[in-house]
């Protein structure tokens, strides 16, 4: 290829450029740039990765050739040769859920300037899909992997371990992370809300939850802790998938219509659900918090904007994303991990939607 113009080192740049534009996706190579600049391909490579090792004069010629051709280096070839892809795989359950995307945002923002790019996939909340996705991602030879949660199949864990990469599991904690986990204790947060409800004086409360694994663990812990006290009772409404305003409204409706729910206290597995409960309560003329206390989870923007303001469990998602990025970058830079289990904690933010009985 390109033999016809082998002789035009400085003679016919346009010709060389033109030739490399024909055909589909025929892109310019370092060799072509080098020919134009009158240097070898390696020198072009060096000019891009170690400019200090190239003379200023040569550098300028190469830069001119790059500008003239619109050369964009082929990172695929680079990755193959160097065995570093500069790619980080990110797997989250849902790409449309702000809980996860906000962490990804903090994560990628922390990566800015490091040259890493993100290969993102959505796993869904059901098992099984993740395994195939992990294989697909590992085939791209990412330099690191970020997963959501700690619940991964044996085969997934085997593949990830076998890939021998920095791996971070986000948004949950375990004593035996694949590599590093950054999160908080879901059961502990459920128990904390239970104690909060007890302190407010409630004895019969409800939960409105999404059915995913983590929400379930929070809810179970909440029930267990709350019902530790003799005579206390929890009514639980669980929806199959992700929470939404509509499901929040439906949740309160169901509690009132089917469970003869007396106005008291509702712990929701997301702020969205809590907001739905709030809207339904207001539509029914119930006063919050006088007739009904509501606690959300996640402390989204809406918790600070609705009327009344929503009490919610805050998890510092930006800090989570940043800690995850740091854990990976530290390893990628060759450092050792000092701490494989990073507990970001949580905090109950009391606002207007709750008050003592």
């Amino acid at each position: 290829m390109g033999k016809k113009v082998d002789n035009n080192t400085e003679i016919s740049p346009k010709g060389a450029l033109f030739e490399s534009r024909k055909g589909a996706g025929q892109s310019i190579t370092m060799e072509a740039v080098g020919r134009l600049a009158g240097v070898s391909q390696v020198t072009v490579s060096r000019a891009l990765s170690n400019p200090e090792k190239v003379s200023p004069k040569t550098l300028k010629k190469i830069q001119a050739a790059i500008d003239a051709t619109g050369f964009v280096p082929n990172a695929v070839a680079g990755a193959l040769a160097s065995k570093r892809s500069k790619l980080i795989s990110v797997l989250i359950p849902s790409i449309t859920n702000i809980v996860y995307t906000s962490m990804v945002k903090a994560f990628t923002d922390s990566l800015a300037g490091s040259g890493y790019q993100i290969l993102l996939s959505e796993t869904g909340f059901e098992d099984g899909a993740e395994e195939a996705l992990i294989a697909a991602h590992l085939s791209r030879r990412p330099d690191a992997v970020m997963l959501t949660g700690i619940d991964h199949s044996a085969r997934s864990r085997m593949m990830l371990l076998g890939a021998n990469l920095p791996i971070v599991e986000l948004w949950d904690l375990t004593d035996s992370p694949i590599d590093v986990c950054v999160g908080f204790s879901h059961p502990e947060s459920g128990r904390a809300v239970a104690r909060f409800a007890i302190e407010l004086g409630f004895t019969s409360v409800a939960t409105v939850s999404a059915g995913d694994e983590r929400a379930t663990r929070r809810g179970d812990a909440f029930v267990q802790e709350f019902e530790k006290i003799e005579g206390n009772k929890v009514t639980s409404i669980v929806f199959g998938q992700t929470g939404s305003l509509a499901k929040g409204r439906a949740g309160l409706t169901k509690l009132i219509d089917e469970h003869d729910f007396k106005n008291s206290f509702i712990f929701c597995s997301s702020d969205n659900l809590a907001h739905g409960v709030l809207i339904e309560a207001q539509a029914r003329g119930l006063k919050v918090p006088e007739d009904l206390a509501i606690v959300g989870f996640g402390d989204q923007e809406l918790a600070r904007s609705v009327d009344p303001l929503l009490t919610s469990v805050r998890v510092d998602r930006p800090a989570l994303g940043q800690a995850a990025a740091k854990a990976l970058l530290d390893q990628l830079k060759g450092g050792k991990v000092s701490n494989r289990i990073i507990d970001i904690g949580f905090e109950i933010i009391q606002r207007e939607s709750t008050k003592p009985l």
Copy 2:
């Protein structure tokens, strides 16, 4: 590499496996799998990409070797050799904004089974960042690119054109797309809402908008169309960044406190802003739609869940994402594009938050 075990075709599989696990990221190759299965490397490649061209017996041996080693093919090498990366670049302004992520979701869901993966980046709403991101993405040699909007720098367009790939611009329309655009007319949607407000009988209205380029074009068109009628007047509140509940509340507050706004009709550039306006209105004891009519944009889930239900401009984002995926896949399959400008349209969904004066 691997010379030491060259002689163990069937003798010491564990040895081969073990050897390939040592060292960082040392992954198994097709050659190693082939050695284990007693076939050449190419046959392993074929077994994976064209199993029908390999005898069932060989196939089984190869499968066993793959299972034994946990082999994951190196897609980087595959991409370099085949000049097809099976990667699609996706650039959206914000990864945490459901408007964009819902389209990406529809887009990727349409891609399921095709073997393509998504390289996702966030461009932000400011110019400049996109150019560097496009270069970074093109260096990965994606097979196609999806961009948001039609507003791209000359250099960006040049790079994209030079890459000679299927490209789709989403969420807007232009007569001169880089390749294909799938969207709707933002100005036309603004004018439609203006006519809607006029029909309802309003003469003095307001807008509460985010400051991004598309929201601005919708708002400008709204104002122009509405003020075509003698004596009509629009008060505009614009916020710098993305809309939010808090900004919606602040918007109404500003209108009332600073602009002496009389209860009438407010067109918001997103449902989030509209919801914020609604919350603030309710907090102030205003009745919607009796005292104040509100129109949102986007028809998010919340528009169908708040009380009163929110009138909004619906754009079929799933259809948009699907059409974009189809436009790209058609070209990737070698087909020609019949239609370079795909208008998905929009629709004003009238609900409880508006009524005739």
